[in-house]
Symmetry: C3
Subunit: 351 residues, 3 copies
């Protein structure tokens, strides 16, 4: 069961080339992405309506695609426009076409009711291609339910434990209760740790002679998108009050997209606004993130294996779970709303 009426990140822009097709399963649906001759993104169900073969194994013919099993031809709206030895093509001969928007190096698609697909609802991630910021694109595949990764991102008390030598820093970081606020479609988490050590990944690229004030302020919204203002400034220089003098600032953008009920696509990047003319700084930051996310992957896959051993296991809530508990309720509520609004559509949307 997946939320349908929402925008999911399906790919990084560079994954979909000018020629050929790109294929990825999104919320249980095989999806084929390609670019029209003008560059515009097309997102079609990657399953021929005839016998179910992947269209992405087919052939580009202008903006159309020819299924290379039996030769059916589809236009970029998904309509079958030609079939061998057949004059009349019935109008129901088509594959699903998904609203798709390319914005700031991410390609977003909508697998719900197309009439509700409003590009204005796509979260702002302009830091990904803003010339004042620099970043590199990241992707990881997880063999776990995407909610376990949401949990991880909604409780940063794991930073000093899972990420001691990368994102972590001193364990006092975990002792600070973050502020958690309900926002539209999600939560906002704000954590300030004053007069502390710089986290290793930042200390590696930014000279930090003494203690710092450190912050992580992020919105985590449906379906699983994190946008964060984080950074550090010399302790006591007023960062918390809004003065960011000699600060190292980041605007991490991360998106979780379920592949299936038990696997997840994870898109991420870590834009920074200092030393943007030094590629080795961008590389160092990206490498730290990649290492840190491998640490997350190890513990979350181990957690998943433990949970699979006993379906009756119930997690026990602690104080640190405030944000993740709120977000899980938001997810459940949205799923329930979609079920009630249109029981058949909710079911049928998978098709």
């Amino acid at each position: 069961m997946f939320i349908r009426n929402t925008w999911y990140v399906a790919a990084w822009s560079h994954e979909v080339l000018a020629e050929g097709f790109f294929s990825r399963v999104i919320t249980g649906i095989p999806v084929m992405l390609y670019r029209k001759e003008g560059g515009e993104i097309v997102a079609l169900e990657d399953r021929c309506c005839h016998r179910g073969a992947p269209l992405s194994l087919g052939r580009r013919e202008g903006d159309c695609v020819r299924c290379m099993y039996h030769g059916l031809r589809f236009d970029s709206a998904g309509a079958c426009v030609e079939a061998p030895a057949q004059q009349r093509i019935p109008p129901q001969a088509k594959v699903r076409s998904f609203p798709a928007v390319e914005r700031h190096r991410w390609i977003w698609i909508w697998t719900g009711d197309p009439a509700l697909a409003d590009p204005a609802q796509i979260p702002d991630t302009h830091w990904l291609d803003d010339p004042a910021w620099r970043c590199r694109p990241g992707y990881i595949h997880y063999d776990v339910d995407y909610l376990l990764i949401c949990d991880n991102l909604l409780d940063f008390s794991h930073l000093p434990f899972v990420h001691r030598t990368t994102l972590g820093g001193h364990e006092e970081y975990a002792a600070v209760q973050p502020k958690v606020e309900r926002i539209e479609n999600g939560v906002r988490v704000t954590r300030w740790v004053m007069n502390t050590d710089a986290p290793p990944f930042a200390a590696a690229v930014k000279h930090c002679p003494g203690k710092v004030d450190r912050w992580n302020i992020y919105d985590f919204t449906l379906p699983g998108v994190l946008r964060m203002d984080s950074g550090m400034a010399p302790a006591g220089t007023g960062a918390r009050e809004g003065t960011r003098v000699d600060a190292a600032e980041f605007r991490s953008c991360q998106a979780l997209t379920p592949e299936t009920e038990h696997s997840t696509h994870y898109f991420f990047s870590m834009p920074h606004n200092f030393a943007i003319d030094q590629p080795e700084v961008t590389d160092s930051i990206h490498q730290s993130i990649v290492e840190a996310f491998a640490e997350d992957s190890a513990i979350i896959h181990a957690q998943q294996k433990n949970l699979a051993l006993d379906p009756s296991f119930r997690m026990m809530a602690f104080g640190i779970d405030s944000a993740l508990s709120q977000f899980r309720r938001i997810v459940d509520q949205r799923l329930e709303e979609e079920r009630q609004a249109s029981p058949l559509a909710a079911e049928g949307a998978a098709r």
Copy 2:
């Protein structure tokens, strides 16, 4: 659920040596094949009635087999004739014995009611060892329901798309509607394409200076056996009317045998009656078929993966599906007949 009262190809003759045992799962049943000292084929359930160990890991003792787990001995009819530390062997101590017939290099077995096993019903595939023809034996294993491969073989409009550089030829091939006739236990498909290009695999071994008339005429019968008269002759020389002058003719024999509900054994060969004293011609034809069948395997496994993502997906019938739709109905009807004739036997036959 498998059709029981039918002959299945279980092996190529050369797979079952004079010594030792050959083991293969056929329609969900582990089957052990071996040759008596006189060469006659024996087909026994490859599962000791005692603790279920494979008899094929056992020892030949004349025409008998000794289970090498606890030492039970079975005769070639499947009866237990000796057990350690036991004088009297109860008559129900036996493994199933299957009627088996070796004919034209194929070994056929019958997993249904032995009383109904009539070797006269075995389809004629004499081209496999007729001295006027030459071929090499082929085998592929598929991890898909055998019906998906039946579908493939019943709709040759896939030839120019899946097999462009092997069996394919010009796409106009797909535009010709074949004639489909109902025959006993199956369908006959007849397709003539006049004044067309020679398919690559044939052009590689037969000089074709100009256009050809090309035909594929095959019977596809239960459980999944294809026997085809195919070939090409110089265009306009009257092949369709029965005159085969300077023709390249083939008599392909192919058999699909379900291993389990989700996997299939595929036996095939492509006898030809020209250049039969030139082994390199036979090799070239066989190699083309092997390459082409790898192309089928790629698209059918991809199709299977897509179908598994969504059990509610319904294939949409097109005009080209006439033969495969008829054959699927024949399969369903036979399964239903077997269920009604003997509900318990149909069930129990798996044992």
Copy 3:
């Protein structure tokens, strides 16, 4: 469904080091073993009560363990004693602690009702570290239901067939009916074969000029523990009557512990009381056992594969199955008793 109120072997002593953690799934439960600073064994559920992460990926802090996902700290009794940003820890915040006893190089744990865990019930395996005996430790992992291995161990008629060149010997061994007696929680099997050949593994280390009298006398008790007096002596020297002159004697200790419903831990050793100052003799015996157990593994995994093909297959009992049939009844009876005694506990014990 596993028997709960019983002692299971969880590990060899040397597997649990002075530092760090050792993790193994026992009867479906992830278990973490470690040693307190004084060496005493601790056995905790290896699944944090918070989000289910494995504690064994955590950090030792004295006798406590810190979960390295979010930093919860547990004492050696399983109680959570610290959580980030939280003053009061609720008493239900804990992981299961299992009674554990280290005895004669084996570590036993109890996954049932702790109040019933009586170390006096642990079977005596003192030969494993008795200075008058020598042995090496063995371990194999099986991907089968542990009962199939119990079956194997309860019917030694397989010796001359499965283990011809290792434990086996002449096939007349299988022709001798063993005596089977019911004992507390299991069966005792006694088999004497008089005036026979020495089995290969023993002949390799003990000079046997002529025929021998050979015996295997073992108790096989819940949950799956074999303790055996076996050996051989020159034929006719009165071994059966109690005189063991120039005998080669063994006291094999073997324990089967279910990992899951479909996989098993197998601990074994073969103490001998002759040539105990010759390590090459101990090595040779151990190597023979390892080879023989690989032979068992091959046939039992093949058997399991055959059984999985047809869940309706019913094994047919032969005379040689007396001991294993009795033991399976003892297992069923114990499971039924635990179910009746406490339906919820039996269910809940997996947690």
